[in-house]
């Protein structure tokens, strides 16, 4: 067992874990943050996307211990019904949500993009969202939602 200290959604967490535990399992099982989804278990679908120190990662191919001392944002830390994040509002209003299983990862990928680049081009949006698979929407409304959120963020 090793000591793991990390910040999750702004809260300091201390846990004892096995070194081989994946970040996704610690988030879902130990911290109860089930908004992070597992779709493929091999870093190919992006459903388990979380933001670590400002960058998106697939939490299914990262060991929890690799997050030691780092800052993690999961979907639970992004917004709520009273104060939704612009990306979340845009996803709802554009109709970018169908089955919803890819949605948390998509929202985080979009948030990470807009945090760095509030005014992305359509190409930049496509590239930023290309690590997240969706089987329902055909991506069309997801990409539009990111554009809409960008407009809201930049106030244009």
């Amino acid at each position: 067992m090793v000591e793991l200290e990390l910040t999750v959604n702004g809260k300091a967490c201390m846990l004892k874990i096995e070194p081989g535990e994946r970040l996704i399992d610690v988030l879902r099982q130990r911290l109860g943050l089930t908004g992070t989804k597992e779709g493929c278990g091999e870093g190919e679908c992006g459903a388990c996307t979380v933001i670590m120190d400002g960058r998106t990662i697939n939490s299914c191919v990262v060991l929890a211990i690799q997050a030691h001392g780092r800052d993690i944002t999961t979907i639970e830390g992004v917004g709520n019904r009273i104060r939704p994040h612009p990306v979340q509002r845009a996803f709802v209003e554009e109709g970018a949500v169908q089955c919803g299983y890819c949605t948390p990862g998509m929202v985080l990928a979009a948030k990470a993009l807009l945090d760095k680049n509030p005014d992305p081009s359509p190409q930049e949006i496509g590239a930023a969202m290309s690590g997240n698979l969706c089987r329902c929407t055909g991506y069309d409304k997801i990409l539009r939602a990111v554009q809409r959120a960008a407009r809201e963020v930049t106030g244009t």
């Binding site: 779709g39 493929c40 091999e42 190919e44 679908c45 554009e94 109709g95 169908q98 089955c99 919803g100 496509g126 590239a127 969202m129 290309s130 690590g131 997240n132 698979l133 969706c134 089987r135 329902c136 929407t137 055909g138 991506y139 069309d140 409304k141 997801i142 990409l143």
Partner: protein, 336 residues
Amino acid sequence: MKKRGTGLGCTWYGTGYGNGFPDVSSAFVEIHDDGTAAVLTGAVDVGQGSSTVFAQIAAEELGLRPEDILVCSGDTDVTPDSGTTAATRQTYNTGNAVLKAVRQAKLRLQEFGARKFSCPSPEGIELKDGMIGVRGDPSRSMPLSELAWEARLLHGERFISASSFTAQTTAVNLENGQGAPYWPYAFGCQAAEVEVDTDTGTVRVLKIAAAHDLGRAVNLTQVEGQIAGGVAQGVGYALLEEVELAEGRIKNPAFARYLIPTALDVPEIESMIVEEPEDTGPYGAKGLGEPAMLPTIAAIINAIDAAVGVRITSLPATPEKILAALAEKQRGGSGG
């Protein structure tokens, strides 16, 4: 070299279980004391949006906002059986059941309203914008919330209903296939523009224009969502996806090796809606779920032929098959 071409795909799709199998959906409706309503059906929303469609139907009938409708679905202890979420049948089938059930509850409301407002017939009572009252006479109306409350607490009157709808088809004759196996039928056409790299055989789908006759669009956002999602699956089916088998064992049971389209593989999509109303459908609606992906398959394959003059006859149209066909064509084969 990169060459472009366009292709057309034109399809039809019989919705529902079909073949005379009793295709039944059921719904329960309850008007709450505050004038909101609950719709209970077994129909599950797998992401396509059936629950939203049912809320819209109830809201339309009761003069409420969709957010005032609680849709409870897919719990066998609570909801009636509404069949499977498949066969492009929920908008049509369960939509019809919801419509019938809501209209029953509505009729009870209208009857109560007719007595309340001394209106000679329930048909004279209108439900609109959260109000119930005599059609054309705003002075004889009240909020539905007050009427529902009053009905229960002062008169013990409830507005609760249950109904079922069964689609009508006949079984085909097993000797010659004759019969009326499906109803209604949905139709669709798509045009694809592709770019084929003649060096690598790679196909890029640049654009899909999709027109679908779905009877009536109940929710435009969801219709566009179904079309775009269908196109993406059609792109995957036509170009990318294949479960590879070796002696019955799946060689690629993983997302690293079973590839579905990413955001960058899906073309620009222009969706167009054709509303040729179906008399038996709720507000004329037929359905769209499955049909959305069908024309994509042919539009892409035909566009490849238009671009480079080779006809791919086995799916998926991989770069390997396209290069082989191009080589065959150069050797003077038919390419087909």
